[in-house]
Amino acid sequence: MKALLAAAAVIALALAGASAGAIPGGTVAVTVVLPYVAFLTLAAGIAWRVWQWAASPVPYRIPTTCGQQRSLAWIRTAPIDNPDTGIMAAIRVAIEALTFRSLLRNSRSHVSAGRLEFSEARLLWLASLALHWSLLVILLRHLRFVLQPTPFFVPPLDALDGFLRIGAPPLLITDVLLVAALLYLLGRRLANPLLRYMSLLTDYFALLLLLGIALSGMAMRYAAPVDLVSVKQLALALAAFHPVVPLAPSALLLVHLLLVSTLAIYLPFSKLAHFGGVFLSPTRNLANNSRRVRHINPWNRPVPTHTYAEWEAEYADKMKLAGLPVDGTDHGG
């Protein structure tokens, strides 16, 4: 149900894009106004979110340690999984960001004949990695549209991406990986009863929106090629703040632009802003050195305590009888 609603929302958005060319002012809205609004929302939204996270204090040093601590000099430590310095903690974060190491740990547990058994479960890791790396490469490839001259790294990236040389224009590996990963993640969410139970409409929406973007983009490359020169003109003009409304843009381009703009507007206010967790989690980005270096809590506040003198006042007589030393200072008796 939630998945259907999310699909309906994405389809409605796509239809709105497809029909924009036929509505007066529709083309301007989708090719000029919306991209600017989206870009501003994305930039401001992310800045706001990151500021909100980064500005909140970290009262305690609470890394989750995944290996041997540094204690005695002769014990071999796990310097990355249990970082001892800020630099090692940064390396831990970098490895997580680049390789999704925690997902690589994943395993599946099942109960059979009253026993708990574990099996490997690497597909989630593989799909996530494929999704994110493909998105990055695709984003970099798109720089060819907004930058003139085309950045030096884009043509070799294109060549590498298409090295399979299947079809013309050559099939890009990242396109295939992206769609495959999205379909896997979607299928998994629907097929796994535990995930289906917990999934929100927004979980499906995010995946379907990305799928819509990927498919509309691929259609423009493989199925109904658009005039790349005019696309580049549009993009360059937008980037130069001298927007030129294209005369007869392809409906696919309008769909693609509308979906991408929706993503940009939606991203900062949704779970898609999860990158913050990778870089800012106090369980991951801090060194496990809280006994060696004192961590300061900016809001550390006084609390009532039961002092030794108060305690001794209650027990002094019994302590004396038991032969325990007492300070016996200022509590009369």
Binding site: R49, W53, S56, P57, V58, P59, R61, T64, T65, C66, G67, Q68, Q69, S71, L72, W74, I75, R76, D81, E96, F100, L103, R105, N106, S109, H110, V111, G114, R115, L116, S128, L194, L195, Y197, M198, T202, D203, F269, K271, A273, G276, G277, L280, S281, T283, R284, S290, R291, R292, R294, H295, N300, V303, T305, Y308, E312, Y315, K318, A322, L324
Partner: protein, 532 residues
């Protein structure tokens, strides 16, 4: 346990909508409420007589405002809380990593589901999308049913952090649980098994409420017993000013079994190396049930340790075997109640090793201390005295995932025992499974849920019992020692539970000791000639 409940472990597909907050408080799966006297003792709000099974929990009239303001306040004070409310993508990698989910099959015990119980409320009151789109955006009203649901499920989390290591964002359910429990405490919703020990610890000095003279009796008893076992007079100094080291242990060590044998082990070791130490009757608790209740209560209980170290004029502090105690000592104490600038860099008086890793907090784990002694050959062990035991080692959650104390206890065990076997790799070290009774859940009324939560751990023990004939589960946690015996009796009969320093004490060759006839439990040792 009088009668064994039959527990089927089954992971079924969930039914219904998780946003339906109604909970059935089934006997055996929850902890009793704090009686009014506990809250009065500690000056906590809304003391009253109630139980979770009551229809009316007698919450204060403005309970909703208190909770929402409490959330707002904590969102501003803890980056962890705000981030963990925002960044979960519900990928489900954590789902089957929780021992309570694996043991109960209740989908709300999947870590990401547990977090959604409060995240949905966060969305409704603290995010734009939640306010605008309500349930479409995964938002949920805060109702009394939600409060009851929070109580049920956040007291079905042992703050073990296992889910966190699988999370791509390091979302730590322990952190969320700690904050929700703190929120609940603002409206007087807490459990007796936590507030009573905390109150005892605050006023009397330890969780068990043992007054100083009884504390002394208990240690005198240990002295007598040590005389019988070793023939040596092993004194345990109390509140002695000017000692070099203050030794702090969980109170169960001197008042419960099998903890008590660990106490004997420490004392034999300290005697053998001539450690200049004292224990304290005022700070006679290393454990800290405040951790399971609220930040402030944790700090109030923990404050005694530094205060006492200062009053006694010791140079540094040594801490005994206890899991959550070390979470507090390692990750919170110095920040909360430091700086410990009145203490000195801990240096082993026997080996001269400087414990640089404790340079600021000035507190050393007894396994670090002992491993250093063994490495430098300063003590002599006869591991054959532990030959009746085939040992495996349970990493306690907090020393494993909140510290990384993995090799030190193993080093001691391998020297002290001839027969040692590890459990499967996915169940030890950072992957260790909780005993199922930590974070204040180890009470009798919660027995069914404890046995369910402890099932994954027991399952791994059963594996090494069948494979290698393991009959002893060693650990370094007082809650483990209190609750694993019950767990073993239920799932893996024939496996005993012991502290690392009990096994060390058995093996320790002491100057001037008599020929040992028994181990520390008073059981006769195997015949000498077998090992000749």
């Amino acid at each position: 346990m009088a009668d064994k409940p039959a527990i089927d472990i089954e992971l079924k597909a969930p039914k219904g909508d998780w946003r339906d907050a109604r909970v059935e408080f089934r006997k055996g799966t929850f902890s009793n409420a704090s009686p009014p006297k506990d809250l009065v003792h500690l000056g906590l709000p809304n003391p009253r007589k109630w139980q979770p099974t009551d229809l009316d929990w007698q919450l204060p009239p403005d309970w909703k405002r208190i909770l929402l303001e409490g959330m707002k306040d904590r969102l501003a004070r803890y980056r962890s809380f705000r981030l963990f409310m925002d960044v979960c993508v519900r990928c489900g990698a954590c789902a089957d990593k929780c021992h309570f989910y694996l043991g109960s099959g209740d989908p709300k015990n999947m870590p990401f589901a547990r977090a959604e119980l409060i995240r949905s409320v966060y969305r409704r009151y603290f995010t734009l999308s939640g306010r605008l789109f309500g349930s479409l955006a995964g938002a949920r009203e805060l109702t009394e049913d939600v409060v009851k649901e929070w109580f049920y499920y956040f007291y079905q989390c042992t703050e073990c952090r296992r889910c966190s290591i699988y999370c791509p964002f390091g979302i730590d359910t322990a952190e969320i649980t700690m904050i929700v429990r703190e929120l609940l405490s603002l409206i007087g919703v807490s459990t007796h098994w936590i507030t009573e020990p905390a109150g005892n610890c605050y006023r009397v000095g330890n969780h068990l409420g043992i007054a100083p003279h009884a504390f002394k009796d208990s240690l005198e008893f240990a002295r007598d017993e040590l005389r019988d076992i070793t023939g040596l007079d092993i004194e345990i100094p109390i509140n002695r000013k000017g000692a070099e080291v203050l030794f702090v242990m969980p109170s169960a060590d001197y008042f419960a079994t099998p903890h008590y044998y660990t106490l004997l082990g420490y004392m034999m070791l300290f005697h053998e190396i001539g450690l200049d130490f004292t224990v304290s009757a005022y700070a006679s608790e290393g454990g800290n049930f405040g951790l399971f209740h609220s930040n402030d209560l944790m700090k109030r209980l923990n404050a005694k340790i530094y205060a006492e170290a200062k009053r006694l004029g010791v140079k540094w502090i040594l801490g005994g075997e206890c899991g959550h105690m070390w979470r507090v000592l390692h990750q919170y104490m110095d920040t909360m109640n430091g700086p410990a600038d009145f203490l000195e860099m801990p240096v082993s008086p026997v080996t001269g090793t400087r414990f640089e890793n404790a340079a600021s907090t000035k507190m050393v784990h007894v396994c670090e201390f002992t491993a250093d002694l063994l490495y430098h050959g300063k003590i002599k062990l006869d591991p054959s005295r532990n030959d009746e035991y085939v040992v495996t080692y349970h990493d306690s959650c907090n020393p494993a995932r909140g510290m990384g104390l993995l090799e030190e206890p193993r080093y001691v065990l391998r020297r002290a025992c001839n027969h040692f076997h590890e459990m499967p790799a996915k169940t030890i070290r950072e992957y260790t499974f909780c005993c199922g009774s930590g974070a204040g859940l180890g009470n009798d009324e919660n027995m069914e849920m404890r046995l369910r939560g402890g099932f994954p751990r027991a399952n791994a023990v059963r594996h090494v019992r069948e494979e290698h004939g393991v009959n002893l589960l060693a650990c370094i946690c007082a809650i483990d020692k209190a609750t694993l015996p019950t767990l073993m009796d239920y799932w893996v009969p024939g496996v005993q539970v012991a502290g690392v320093h009990e096994l060390l004490g058995n093996a320790l060759v002491m100057t001037g000791e008599k020929q040992r006839a028994t181990n520390l439990r008073g059981e006769p040792l195997a015949k000498e000639e077998v090992h000749a």
